[in-house]
């Protein structure tokens, strides 16, 4: 294992200290329990949006804390969901009296810990709602699994609901918008290499030079199938087809296309893949109205990518365009 670390057991706390120093004035970070909150929280009268999950997916979620997006994020250990007391601490720090929306990616651990946290917070008299995102079409038979995973769509959901909350939307509206995003967003990813979890010290799985894992999750958990490595056109098609099959994107559909790097794939390859995806969508008469390209929900140093498509309407588009000022996404503010 080659990583820039001192001690695998303190990696998250050590990184949070650096993050706090890198973004003074924007973030307020506490270590025990670990919470990344916007510096001006709580914002009186505003619905607070709180998310969290295992570390190793940076910039998700801490990089999306700030005006126009999340009020707080709870980073767990690497690839391990945060604990209920962590979520409770985050909610207590940022509750502005208008209620709190918890954004949870659909993994067994995340759902269990946030469920417990929501009970604790509700017992404190805070109006708390939970939205679970499950946009990964790679998981086929949801009846016989833990269900679809929350992946790239999480970034879009946090941006859109964060914008709504910033503009003064109430908790019911924020919850409705979050469910609208969940209903209209689909993702799929592939991996070319495996990530190495610091406290494990070796790659999470092995892929031969000429193999790729199709339908990969964001924790190095293997995906749908192992296939011979293909060229970029074939890879993009292998990601787009299951997404388009799953959610009917009619001709003239307006979409946001999110081309994401899993951490190790450089922007050169990512832009190349994005170009192919735009061309393939145009050929199907689907209009790409908004884009996001870059490493925004990663799996440590894994090489690979994911595509996410969100069906847009005027309301979602306006919220996407609204100002945002976070460590990782920043425009108009």
């Amino acid at each position: 294992m080659k990583k820039i670390i001192n001690d695998p057991t303190t990696i998250v706390a050590d990184a949070l200290r650096g993050m706090a120093l890198a973004h003074p004035g924007l973030l307020r970070i506490t270590e025990d329990p670990a919470v990344v909150a916007r510096a001006d929280a709580p914002v009186r009268g505003k619905v607070a949006i709180v998310s969290g999950g295992g570390s190793g997916h940076e910039p998700l979620h801490g990089g999306f804390v700030g005006p126009g997006m999340l009020d707080a994020a709870c980073p767990g250990a690497v690839f391990t969901s945060p604990t209920p007391d962590q979520v409770q601490a985050a909610v207590t720090q940022v509750d502005g009296g208008a209620g709190v929306l918890l954004v949870v990616k659909n993994y067994t651990g995340d759902v269990l810990n946030f469920e417990t946290a929501a009970e604790l917070v509700a017992a404190d008299g805070i109006d708390v709602r939970t939205v679970v995102i499950d946009d990964d079409v790679a998981v086929r038979d949801s009846t016989w699994t833990a269900g679809r995973r929350g992946v790239g769509g999480t970034v879009l959901l946090e941006k859109i609901v964060g914008a709504a909350a910033e503009s003064g939307a109430d908790l019911d509206t924020c919850e409705r918008l979050a469910r609208a995003v969940v209903g209209n967003v689909r993702s799929m990813g592939i991996a070319l290499t495996a990530p190495t979890v610091p406290h494990v010290g070796e790659p999470s799985f092995t892929l031969a030079e000429d193999e790729m894992e199709v339908g990969i999750g964001i924790h190095g958990e293997p995906g749908r199938s192992r296939e011979p490595l293909a060229d970029a056109d074939a890879i993009v098609a292998a990601l787009l087809d299951p997404i388009l099959d799953d959610l009917p994107f009619a001709e003239k559909s307006r979409v946001l296309l999110f081309t994401n790097s899993m951490g190790g794939t450089p922007l050169l390859e990512l832009y190349l893949a994005h170009g192919i995806a735009e061309r393939m969508l145009a050929e199907r008469g689907i209009t790409v109205e908004r884009r996001l390209v870059g490493p925004f929900i990663t799996s440590l140093e894994m090489q690979g990518m994911s595509l996410t498509l969100l069906r847009l309407d005027d309301e979602l588009t306006a919220l996407w365009d609204a100002p945002v000022r976070t460590a990782a996404l920043r425009w108009g503010a």
Partner: protein, 202 residues
């Protein structure tokens, strides 16, 4: 040995040592069909439990188990934290506030713990999870505390082994579908390890 709070605390310390000893094995099992965090998370959680027992030993068996539960829930994260936390919490509640354990109380507490895990995790026998080890263990009976715990450990070990050919239907391994078959479930393995360590402590 007696079965008072001190003995239960000693058994928990022994369990922590067993988990530490088997950390790498649990990591390897979890890497095969999950994400490799199970061994490290449990070791970290039981490390916190031992640290809290070093500060003070609660005065009833139930209070010891409640300390274990709250520590695991607040420190572990992942699925294992809330599931094992729930198990210990339900067991603590079932024990009541008596100063000594009896075979009947152990049987009752085991059933309550397993019912809690099933309710929380919504998994059934055959889903390739810790439930496959715990449900058979919950049927354990005997005329001494040691007998009940040994029966539970035997049943849990057999139950854990039964997960090898299964296709996972819950938890992260479920994403693998057919490819999850042929692997021992790490949660079932850690459940069997814990119960065996309790049996060996009596």
């Amino acid at each position: 040995m007696g079965c008072d709070a001190g003995a239960v605390a000693a058994a928990i310390r022994e369990a922590a040592a067993v988990i530490t000893e088997h950390r790498d094995e649990l990591v390897r099992l979890d890497q095969a069909i999950g994400d490799g965090d199970h061994g490290e998370n449990l070791k970290r959680g039981f490390g916190f439990v031992v640290a809290r027992l070093d500060e003070s030993t609660p005065d009833t068996p139930a209070a010891v188990l409640k300390l274990v539960a709250t520590t695991l829930i607040s420190k572990v994260g992942g699925a294992a934290g809330p599931l094992y936390g729930t198990a210990f919490l339900r067991a603590a509640t079932a024990l009541g506030d008596g100063p000594e354990l009896t075979p009947e109380l152990i049987s009752t507490a085991l059933r309550a713990a397993v019912d809690g895990v099933v309710a929380r995790g919504k998994a059934e026998v055959g889903d390739k999870t810790m439930v496959d080890a715990l449900v058979p263990a919950a049927k354990a009976q005997g005329s001494t505390v040691g007998e009940v715990l040994r029966a539970a450990a035997d049943a849990a070990e057999a139950g854990a082994e039964s997960t090898v050919p299964l296709v996972a239907r819950k938890g992260r391994a479920s994403y693998l579908g057919e490819r999850s078959a042929g692997h021992l479930d790490p949660g079932a393995r850690s459940s069997a390890l814990l119960l065996r360590s309790f049996a060996d402590s009596t």
